[in-house]
Subunit: 143 residues, 2 copies
């Protein structure tokens, strides 16, 4: 989406920095105050999951170093792994060009997916046969 | 989000397959008919961008093998690279556990970001200083 603030800072050069809170203030949150977050394993670079944060979840993640999302189904903040132990320690956070999305590299304990799969993207599409098949076996259940 | 169809298929085992269109029909599209798509470079595993597809964009991407998104600002289908030449050839597509997101591995020609950066996530957060700085220099402009 177009975002005048982020368009303005497209001209910044390599290494130039901004006050973080000023970027967070200008993120393109949805009408529900959420932004999509891509979580990637810092070692394997596998994409683990896509989840959502609100402003409080972003600030909590930054202050604690523990990935904290907004659960859209339970309508509450959700510290990943608080019940299962399969938590995620934040390694790096990046913001995209138009303030539409966050990318977080993490150290994952155990598995990322609540189904027990290593990551959430376990339905693999077979274009030739127009089918999708499960890739991998669940290890345990996490939250 | 909770999705009864996807909850039902959590019990499928490694290698079991489904008709692709049945999964696409059950995806958690937003009220605007969109789903977030993570695009990852198949060689480097760098996350390049997050964009959105509607049902037509998914089917066009699957049939042509060229990443085709829905542009929320221009309200039209958008074949990545159609004006800049910086297109993306689909390598693999994966669907997540609750039908909330797609993950596409691609071969990227040129740069992924319209600003000329290699990827869109070029604002890197510095937690200690609560700042964010630009990482990398633009190469050219793409669409």
């Amino acid at each position: 989406m177009q975002n005048i603030f982020f368009e303005t800072i497209e001209s910044l050069e390599d290494g130039q920095s901004l006050v973080l809170q000023s970027l967070i203030d200008e993120l393109n949150f949805t009408d529900n105050g959420l932004i999509p977050v891509i979580t990637q394993d810092v070692s394997s670079k596998d994409v683990l999951m896509l989840a959502w944060m609100n402003r409080e979840a972003i600030n909590t993640t930054l202050s604690t170093g523990l990935m904290t999302y907004w659960s859209r189904s339970r309508r509450t903040l959700w510290v990943k792994g608080e019940t299962s132990g399969n938590g995620q320690v934040l390694a790096t956070m990046q913001i995209d060009c138009d303030g539409d999305a966050l990318l977080c590299m993490v150290s994952q304990t155990g598995v990322a997916c609540h189904t027990g799969q290593d990551n959430c993207f376990y339905f693999k599409v077979d274009r030739e046969n127009m089918s999708a098949s499960v890739q991998g076996s669940p290890k345990n259940h996490s939250q």
